[in-house]
Amino acid sequence: MADRLLRNLAAALRRDPLGCVLLALVGTLVLLCLLAPIVTRTDPTATDFARMLMPPSAENWLGTDDFGRDVFARLLFGGRTSLGVAAVAVMIVMGIGVVAGIVAGYFGGAVDLVLGKLIDVLMAFPRLVLAIAVAALMGGGIASLIVAISVVAWPAYARILRAFTLQVANEGYVQAARTLGTPVWRILGGHVALNLIGPILVLAMLDLGNLILAISALSFLGLGVAPPGPEWGSMLNEGRALIEIAPWMVLAPGMAIFLVVLSANYFADIARDSTEGRAVHGPRDWIAPSRPVARPELPSPNTKEPLLSFEGVTVDVVDPRSPYCGRRILQEVSFWVRPRECVGLIGESGSGKSTLAMLAMGLTRPPLALTGGAVLLSGTNTAAWRWDDWRGVRGRHVGLVNQDPLSALNPVLTIGDQISEVMAAHDAVPTGARAGRLRAVVDDVGLPASVVGRYPHELSGGMRQRVVIAMAIVNRPALLIADEPTTALDVSTQRRILDLIRDLGQQYGLSVLFVSHDLRVIARVADRVVILREGRVVETGTTAAVFAAPREPYTRALMAAIPGQHRQPQPVEV
C-alpha cells in the first residue's frame, strides 16, 4: 500500500511539471522556516525606528515594517509558528473527525445518535465565535489556540466522513469481511478507513489553508500568538493599514499563505489520484463543431441497403497516458445490419462488443479512437460527423437500451417526463401529438398507463427496462442497439423482455443490433449472429446455421459452455 502510493505519487509528479515547481517552492519555504535561526541572524522582534517601512534592499530582503523589524526574518520565524500550529491542529482535527465519523457511520443506532447530536450542537455555534470563547476560557497561548481551533473544526469532518462511511460500509468487501468474521477494529481500519483515505487527504489539505487563516484571526484578537512574536496572520493584519505605502508588509505573508494553501490543495488532488487503485479516465472530449451543423437525415428503412455497416473497423487505445496505449481493441471488423433484421453480436468480456455498440452511437471516447475502416449509417460514412451531428441521430434514428436500467433512468424525474424528454430533444413528434405518443409507447412496451406519473425506484427491474425501451423507440428510430439488456434480470423477466424486443422489431420494422454474451439469449432473438473474439469476427451466419453446425472451435467451445447439458438435455419447448 505505502510503496504503491509513493510510486504512484512519484509517477504523477513526473508527468506534472507544475506540481514539481510547487513542491520545490513549498519545500524551500518550509526548509527556510525550519532553519530560520541559521538562515537569518536578525532578531524578528528587534525594533529599529530609524529604519521604519524601508522597501526591500540588499540588507532587508523583504523590507522592514512599521517598527523597523526585518520582514524576511519575521516571515521565516512566523512560518514556524503558523505552519507548526496548523499542522498540529490538522492532525488533531482529523484524528477526532475520522474516528468519530467512522464510528458513527459504521455502528449507527445509539452511537450515531449521541455523536450526531454532539456534532449538531457544536456546529450550531458560529465557528470563530466558539473558538474565541474556548481560547479566552483557556487564557491565550499557543496550546489554547490549538485546542480552540480543533474543538470547532472536527464536527464538520466527522459529519462528512460519516456520510462516506455509510457508503463504504455497504460495499461488498465490508460485507464479505463481516462474513469472514474479521474483528470490527480491523474492518474499520483495514477496509473502511483505508478506502476513505482519498477524502481524508483532500479534506486535510484543504483545511490547512482555513486553519492558517483561523490562527491568524485569533492571533489578531490577541488570543493566539502574543503581538511582538511573528506569525503570518498577524503580519498580514499589521500590514493591512499600510498597504499603500508599504505593500511588501502584506505581500510577503500573503504570498507565503497563498503558496502554501495553493500547493496543499494541488497536492491533495495528486495524492488522492495516487491512492486510487485504477487510473482515472480523463473527461470526454467535446469537439466543437467546425462548420454549420448538417443534421443527417436517414432514409426510411425500405431499401435493401444495410442500415448500419462496419467496414474493416479498427479501434486502438491511442491516449499516451493510458497504461494500455497501443493495444488493439477491434481488428478489421466487418459486418452489417439490414433493415428489419436482428443481428446478434456474441462475445465475452474484453471482446470489444460494447465498443462496437458505442461506435454505432458515435460515443467512442478517449482513450479509444477509430484508427481504420468506417462506420456507415444508411450508406453514409460517419467519419466526418461531429458531436452535434451525432446528437441529431442518437435517440432519433438510433436508440440504445443498455444493461442497467436503474442507472439509465434519472431518479428524480417521473417516467412520463423522461420519455417526453426524448421527444422534446428531437422534433420527430409534433408538440401536439406528444401526449398521444407517450400513451401509445407506454402501452406498446406493455406497461400500465399509470406508470407515467411514477418514479424509477417504484418500479421493478423488468418494468424499468421496459421504460428504457420505451425511451429508445419513442421517436420511431430505424435502428435499436441493445447492449446486454437482460443480463441484470431474472429468467422470467428476461424472457418477456426478449419477446418484447422481438415483437417491437416486427411491429415497427426496427433493425436491432443485439449485444450479449449469452448464446441462449441470442438464439431466441437474432436472425443472424456475429461471433466476436479478442476484437476479431470469428464466425458469422444465420442463427439456425451457426447454432446447428458451428464451424469454428471457439464457437463450439462457447456452446459447450452453456450450463445445463451435463446431466440431461433441457426439455425442448417449441
Binding site: 461488498g172 468487501y173 464479505a176 469472514l180 474479521t182 474484453g350 429468467v491 424472457r495 454474451h517 433441457q570
Partner: protein, 275 residues
C-alpha cells in the same frame, strides 16, 4: 447440519421472507431458486448474520445463529461468495492481503514463508496462478476475482459455503469453468453448498436438492431430477418454461461433436482473453 426453521424477515412492513424452513446436510449441494424479489438473498443474509430475522430460528449444529453469540460460535464454519466479485474485494488490497485476512483472523500470525505456502495451496484449489499474489483486484479478470472470492471463503475451512448468484456476473465459458471448479471442490471433500440462483440450468448441473422460492415462501422442494422433470407447483413450471432452452439443433449437435472435440474445447477456452 444447517437448519432454518420458520424464518421470517420483514422490510418496511412487507414480508420479504415468510416462514421458510429447510435444512442442509453435510456434503450436500442445495439449490435455492426464485425470481428476483422472491427473498433468496434475504435468506442468505440472515444465515450469514448480516441481517437479523424478525422471527424463526437458524441452527448450525448446536449453535443458534440468530443471536450474536451463536453466530460467533459458528464462526468460520459458514462462509459466502457473493454475486459481484469486483465489489467483494477491497480495491486497495493485494491478493496476498485479501487471502490473508481470514487466515489472520482464524489462525493468527505465522511466519511469512509458511503463509506463502498456505496461500499457494489456496490459489491452487481454485486453479489460480501463484504469481497473482502481488496483484490488485482491478488487475484481474472478473472470473479470476470470483475464484479469489471462493479461495478467500475456503481459507476459513468452512463446512457450508453460501453461494449467492456466483455465476451471474461471469461470461459463459468462465461460468462453465467455475462450475467445473465447484464440482471438483465438492468431489474432493469440500464443504456443503447452498447455491442461490435464478438459472435452472445451473441447478441441473451441480445441485442434488432444490428449493423453489416464490414471494418469500418455499413452494416446492425435492431432488433435482424430480422437481425439474416433474414440477408440481405452477411457479416452478413457469420458471422452468421461462428458462431459455438451448436451441434444439445445438442440443442435438452437441451430443454429436462434444466428445470428439473435447481437447480442442479446453484449448479454445483456455485461450480466451483474461481481461
Amino acid at each position: 447440519m444447517l437448519s432454518v426453521e420458520s424464518l421470517t424477515k420483514r422490510y418496511q412492513g412487507q414480508d420479504a421472507v415468510c416462514g421458510v424452513s429447510f435444512s442442509v446436510a453435510p456434503g450436500e449441494i442445495v439449490g435455492l431458486v426464485g425470481a428476483s424479489g422472491s427473498g433468496k438473498s434475504t435468506i442468505a443474509r440472515c444465515i450469514l448474520g448480516l441481517e437479523r430475522p424478525d422471527a424463526g430460528l437458524i441452527r448450525y449444529g448446536d449453535a443458534v445463529l440468530t443471536d450474536r453469540a451463536g453466530r460467533r460460535a459458528a464462526g468460520r464454519a459458514i462462509q459466502a461468495v457473493f454475486q459481484d466479485p469486483r465489489s467483494s474485494l477491497n480495491p486497495r488490497w493485494t491478493v496476498r492481503r485479501i487471502l490473508s485476512e481470514p487466515l489472520e483472523t482464524w489462525f493468527g500470525r505465522e511466519p511469512s514463508a509458511a503463509r506463502t505456502v498456505r496461500l499457494h495451496a489456496l490459489l491452487l484449489q481454485v486453479t489460480l496462478s501463484a504469481d497473482l499474489l502481488a496483484r490488485y483486484p482491478h488487475e484481474l479478470s472478473t472470473g479470476q476475482c470470483q475464484r479469489l472470492c471462493v479461495a478467500r471463503a475456503l481459507a476459513c475451512g468452512p463446512a457450508l459455503l453460501v453461494l449467492d448468484e456466483p455465476l451471474s456476473a461471469l461470461d459463459v465459458s468462465v461460468q462453465a469453468r467455475m462450475l467445473a471448479m465447484l464440482r471438483d471442490l465438492h468431489a474432493a471433500g469440500g464443504p456443503s453448498f447452498l447455491l442461490i440462483t435464478h438459472d435452472f440450468a445451473v441447478v441441473r448441473e451441480i445441485c442434488q436438492r432444490v428449493l423453489v422460492l416464490n414471494a418469500g415462501r418455499i413452494v416446492e422442494a425435492g431432488p433435482v431430477a424430480r422437481v425439474l422433470d416433474k414440477p408440481s407447483h405452477p411457479v416452478t413450471r413457469s420458471l422452468l418454461l421461462d428458462a431459455l432452452p438451448l436451441p434444439f439443433q445445438t442440443a442435438a449437435a452437441l451430443d454429436r461433436w462434444v466428445d470428439c472435440t473435447k481437447p480442442t474445447l479446453d484449448v479454445a477456452i483456455q485461450r480466451t482473453p483474461s481481461s
